[in-house]
Symmetry: C2
Subunit: 304 residues, 2 copies
């Protein structure tokens, strides 16, 4: 079923203990569109780049079934750029540069052909822009999933709360869930956040897996323990792409199927961190994905 | 099948954000014996206490099938005593007092009736004493499980390595696995630690669950997200008690059955942290345990 993806399409420069990159393709919507295209060939992208953004990546998206009619290319302007350096434990990083560039006045225009998408994935972005997207849709999608981060809790909490209220699924990490709710216990945090609007909450815990909450129901998806985490950049976006992609593919938004979607999201994220940026995600095979899903099943199955 | 449990039986005084206790019963072997007695009525305890230790707790163990012939009671001496205070996040604590008392010169005497136990659980204790226990057994048990902690890595690494070499299963937490192996990646850490002797390694990650490693095989048991962790003291010992108890009950030490044992250990630990000390563990019902196991199944089952 048709999916609308909104978020940043940008450049990153990344340094990890394993090496560093020049400017490479990054941005939440790049990861989300790329990943969800493994599940459905009806992905519609809304984003903005400058004329410095490589055609190759856009062509790659098109070839994989991503409609980029909604990708605005601003002549004479530069794409959003972030650079950062990860610490040795890979759990924390320092931002070195943030250049908003075209993102500074991004107006998310929805092409007419995108109206009536059944699934909406709002990648991490200014909450006000995420809200504008929802308001510009003629019909409310069947499911709205929103990703966000602590940064917006610090500088735009009211906008964030207004936007969160409008969505069905919120994805954040454990520290953000604690910050947003003021509760240390994730069970209590989940209850408070659900009271803010979203009926479903996904708490991402990195190497410790992910939790899906819905009312009193809980699901704990493991993360696959890896020999090496090479670059964690984009893992959360990749997770979101796998999650929404699987839901759009199956057309089933029950809690039971969301569990499966969380496993697919986790599997996609486990690939993401094996290489820099989107490198591992551009040429994944169906067999590789199926084998990874089998590893997740083996990892968590028991028989009492 | 018969189980030998060795470790401290002691007093703790605990302060958490939820309150504080006077001297209450604690010690690794108290938790282990108590928990394993839910699974098998052939538990044999080796430990040492002073004459200040309450008969009530020993009687409770006896009533639940724990043989305390090997519990030495030292007249005129005092039991081991630890007191500590947990920080707000419950993930770290400060030790306020450690009084070794009878533990200072503990000689682990194995009663003749304990020989030929098929399972041995070495609770956290001086590695040299753990080693002495193994050496004093006429026949090597079918399975030796050992728990330890970072403290011994700092003051008795050589003894620790010699003891680790003699056991089948080692249980430690994630930070300790990193410290022992010098590897940040738990997959790499697990490989290095298995090369030190134990064919099975359990890495306990507290609220993030537990990992079981054996060769290239891995199993990830979730922890049950709780509204409130009241007191984490003894959670690792309780885990060990549930783990070894389930194995001794079923008599099956295959990797597949160890997965189940890890789930039982995790379930027991989830009860432990709901109250101070051993409070929640002394009167657990079979129905409560079965319901908790059902919660773990629901928490981690998916159907892709």
């Amino acid at each position: 079923m048709s999916l609308l993806v909104v978020g940043s399409v940008a450049f990153d420069a990344i340094e990890t203990p394993f090496g560093k990159t020049d400017k490479i393709v990054g941005g939440a919507a790049s990861y989300i569109a790329l990943c969800s295209s493994y599940f459905t060939k009806s992905v519609n992208l809304v984003a903005v780049v400058g004329d410095d953004f490589p055609n190759e990546f856009v062509n790659h998206l098109n070839t994989n079934g991503v409609n980029t009619e909604g990708l605005q290319v601003k002549a004479g302007e530069k794409s959003f750029f972030w650079s950062g350096k990860y610490h040795n434990d890979m759990n924390s990083r320092d931002t070195i540069t943030t250049e908003l560039n075209v993102l500074a006045d991004f107006d998310p225009i929805i092409p007419a052909s995108y109206q009536n998408c059944e699934y909406l994935m709002l990648g991490n972005l200014t909450p006000k822009i995420q809200q504008t997207v929802i308001e510009r849709l003629t019909n409310r999608p069947k499911l709205i999933v929103m990703d966000t981060m602590n940064f917006w809790m610090e500088i735009a909490m009211n906008d964030l709360l207004a936007t969160i209220k409008m969505v069905d699924v919120l994805t954040i990490n454990d520290e953000e869930a604690r910050q947003l709710s003021g509760e240390y216990s994730l069970v209590k945090a989940a209850a408070k956040i659900q009271a803010m609007g979203p009926k479903y909450l996904i708490i991402k815990k990195g190497e410790h897996g992910a939790l899906l909450f819905h009312g009193k129901e809980m699901f704990y998806a493991p993360a696959l323990p890896l020999e090496e985490v090479f670059d964690p950049t984009g893992a959360g976006d990749t997770f979101a792409g796998g999650f929404i992609g699987y839901l759009a593919k199956t057309g089933d938004i029950s809690f039971e199927n969301m569990k499966n979607a969380v496993i697919y999201g986790s599997a996609m994220a486990s690939f993401c961190v094996e290489r820099f940026g989107t490198e591992r995600l551009v040429n994944l095979t169906e067999t590789e994905l199926n084998n990874r899903i089998a590893e997740f099943k083996k990892l968590s199955a028991f028989n009492v």
